[in-house]
Symmetry: C2
Subunit: 476 residues, 2 copies
């Protein structure tokens, strides 16, 4: 294997297809360890020519995965060795912690050199997580115009459209015709890297309308742009939340949208690739929140960071578990008299918890997609309560019979059956009302619902089961 690497590396001068002979990924799309090893050897041998060639050929997304796979010291040396050939947008593809560490350890001048080559949205994404003094050092080394554009974007709130937009766009005059617009694009040297539509603005930079490139290409040169301009195109306000923007792109199948300031002046463009990142981030956040994990946990974090981050959620859970157990504690006498109650109580609690989690999952998702709203809330609450009742009755029968067959205690089946119905209805109501209440007070229902909901079903489950048992069997 090491020989292969050696040979592959020495051949590189004659033959540019090193990447073809030693592909970065295996057939499942995972980065191959021997590829990483080869790069790591080249880094340690300071083989700059070879590395520049590889780095230049890789797509930024692949380059990011490579950086992520390297040891921390090799990452820095790779960037220092390849300098101008290294595309800094690759760093937006690595874990936040890795990126921030890299940017803080590299020379500010090196970073500034890399940032200069980026579009404003990529530069902002790169710099927004970095410590402010390091950020200032880097920005100081940039040409004035670029520094001003990045600094302005950084003044917009986190997660706003202003942070995600690119400030390079094509604005044309509304009185031009198709031919003039095409000639303008042919003659202007520094157009944005990728664009899908052009915008028409008035003399005050106020947004007038959009023309997609395919519309432009269908029309003949003398056609006035005014005939093609779509004035009803959906626009984004610079302060709008990125989640709102993503929802709009998804709903109306957009590829790009103009970003305007409060005076309707065109200040940037948001493109679908940034929106796809937002959609994935938000899905990731919701999923992790429901699982009790903070959204900034990353696979590259070390175990101490992770253990600390997960501790808080577990501490909250411990408090609710003690609360539920204190209900059991209230019935200590009864548990001593009839130990079957202690054995069966967790079943009632668990079944309620699972039914409630089903309802909660649907509710959290429907709130996130705006399918659940004040106009249909009552119908959905009633429906969930009915689902709880139906499954409550079904599991009351099953559990009642099973409990009776197990312990042969007459009445025990009826007691657990009644408790089961109570807890599944309570779970259904908790599962829908708690996320709705959290949403109403502008808290994220995905984050906190789980704890509250299972607390409800644990407490109600234990209380209903032991309370009904106390009455039925006349325990004390």
């Amino acid at each position: 294997m090491a020989d292969d690497v050696e040979r592959a590396m020495t051949d590189v001068a004659d033959d540019a297809s090193w990447l073809d002979r030693m592909p970065m990924r295996d057939t499942d799309g995972n980065v191959r360890p021997d590829f990483v090893e080869a790069i790591s050897q080249a880094v340690q041998a300071a083989n700059a020519g070879f590395l520049c060639e590889i780095v230049g050929e890789l797509h930024e997304a692949d380059l990011g995965d490579l950086v992520q796979a390297l040891a921390p010291d090799d990452r820095i040396r790779l960037i220092e060795l390849t300098k101008a050939d290294f595309d800094f947008s690759a760093l937006n593809e690595v874990d936040d912690a890795v990126r921030e560490e890299l940017l803080e350890e590299l020379e500010p001048a090196t970073v500034a050199e890399g940032v200069r080559e980026l579009e404003a949205d990529d530069a902002v994404e790169l710099l927004e997580g970095v410590d402010e003094d390091v950020q200032d050092e880097i920005l100081d080394k940039l040409p004035l115009s670029e520094r001003v554009a990045i600094e302005r974007s950084l003044t917009y709130p986190e997660n706003s459209a202003g942070r995600r937009m690119q400030t390079d766009f094509i604005a044309v005059q509304p009185d031009w015709n198709v031919g003039q617009a095409i000639d303008y694009m042919r003659e202007t040297p520094d157009l944005p890297d990728r664009f899908y539509e052009i915008y028409s603005v008035d003399s005050d930079q106020r947004w007038q309308g959009a023309v997609s490139l395919d519309t432009l290409l269908r029309a003949r040169r003398p056609v006035p742009l005014a005939d093609l301009i779509d004035e009803d195109r959906r626009r984004v306000s610079v302060l709008e939340d990125q989640e709102e923007v993503a929802r709009m792109f998804g709903k109306y199948n957009l590829v790009a949208a103009p970003v305007v300031d409060p005076d309707n002046r065109l200040v940037g463009v948001i493109t679908i690739d940034d929106v796809v990142d937002v959609i994935e981030e938000e899905a990731d956040e919701d999923l992790k929140a429901l699982g009790g994990v903070t959204s900034d946990e990353e696979l590259s974090d070390n175990f101490l960071t992770i253990a600390r981050a997960r501790f808080l959620w577990l501490l909250i859970n411990l408090a609710t578990a003690f609360l539920a157990s204190s209900v059991l504690g209230l019935f200590e006498g009864q548990l001593e008299q009839m130990v079957a109650l202690a054995v069966l109580a967790p079943i009632v609690a668990s079944q309620g918890g699972n039914a409630a989690t089903q309802t909660m999952t649907v509710a959290v998702r429907a709130l996130a997609t705006r399918q659940l709203n004040p106009h249909n809330a009552v119908r959905i609450i009633i429906r969930e309560a009915m689902v709880g009742l139906m499954n409550g009755i079904a599991f009351a029968l099953i559990t009642g019979i099973a409990a009776y067959l197990w312990f042969k205690t007459p009445g025990l089946g009826i007691v657990i059956a009644l408790a089961m119905i109570t807890n599944l209805v309570a779970g259904a109501l908790g599962g829908i009302l708690i996320p709705m209440a959290l949403d109403r007070v502008k808290a994220d229902p995905a984050v906190a619902s789980g704890t509250f909901v299972t607390t409800v079903t644990d407490v109600v489950g234990f209380f209903a089961f032991l309370g009904i048992a106390t009455l039925w069997f006349g325990l004390k």
Copy 2:
């Protein structure tokens, strides 16, 4: 309110801005009930002229939301009244159950009329869930060429690229220049509705490369297309899974990708709007699977459908809950002797369950995004075990002290502390190994992991706590 509606409707002939005066959505973006009521009244009054105007003005996504909000009978009548003005792609925006019911109740001729206006991908999406005999009736009424295109797409496996692609695309000859390509687009009447790039194919329809529209617009007319063609553009195989396609689009920031058959012949194009739908569907599926809800559950389903769908998952949970309780049953004698054990046992199980769920959530997500792969699996497993050990020790201390203060039984704190460490380490290992094992056998880790994982922590938690207690206190 009714008067407003009345006035608004009678005014419509003179004034096209009915939608401006009576917007469909409130400021939060929810569909307004009085808007739906107005449309419903117009449907019942068979006011076709008014409805055609409204339906023609609404974006397909809004029209879909309107259809969803109407009563079932009104939906059908609305489509029958507005016929040619009704954009059938709106039906792809409504819940599956609603769409399927509608398509089965409408006249096949009406549906065929609507399908004719759609692009192939929208038509396939519309028809794929419908009963096969209804599907045949509708297809029979379509012109031959469209029928063949749709039928061919329907032969590709569900969730494959072939189902999602649109079969309308622009293919040009590699020896053309920019001017010829632009003239071709100006002169061809039935180009696709939206397009972002054009493709070059050889005489056998084999894919040669792609040119984005912005690249085309930057170049002067005499430039040969061969100079602009990107031959390395990522392509999609027609049989590729849509999730794989979505991952590729997200990774490489694509807006469109050519779809080729096994012989590299260009057969279609997948565009980002379809991919955004896939990303949202997949996120939805994972989230629901982790919450124990089937992915086809929809907000419009009635409570019986939902109760039945959720029953199975709860039944599996019940079986595992009985399994866990049977562990408690093994220790009946000990529980009778020391009822504090019955009170505290659920705490050990619950804390383990939550820690395991954290690990499982991260593992499921990392498997879905391919961040967790065979090359880093060992490192991640060790890390999770360390996280379990760290938090196990932390919560052993907290719980041990709390249990001692509550029951004042010497030794009880030590017993629960040891059980806590055992269960949190077991939970961490279960939380990572179970999803990985499911993934290895090609099962969806999101669907089944939860039950297995909490079964592990319930069983291990009860067993460890009561077993250690039995030894420590010499119970029997």
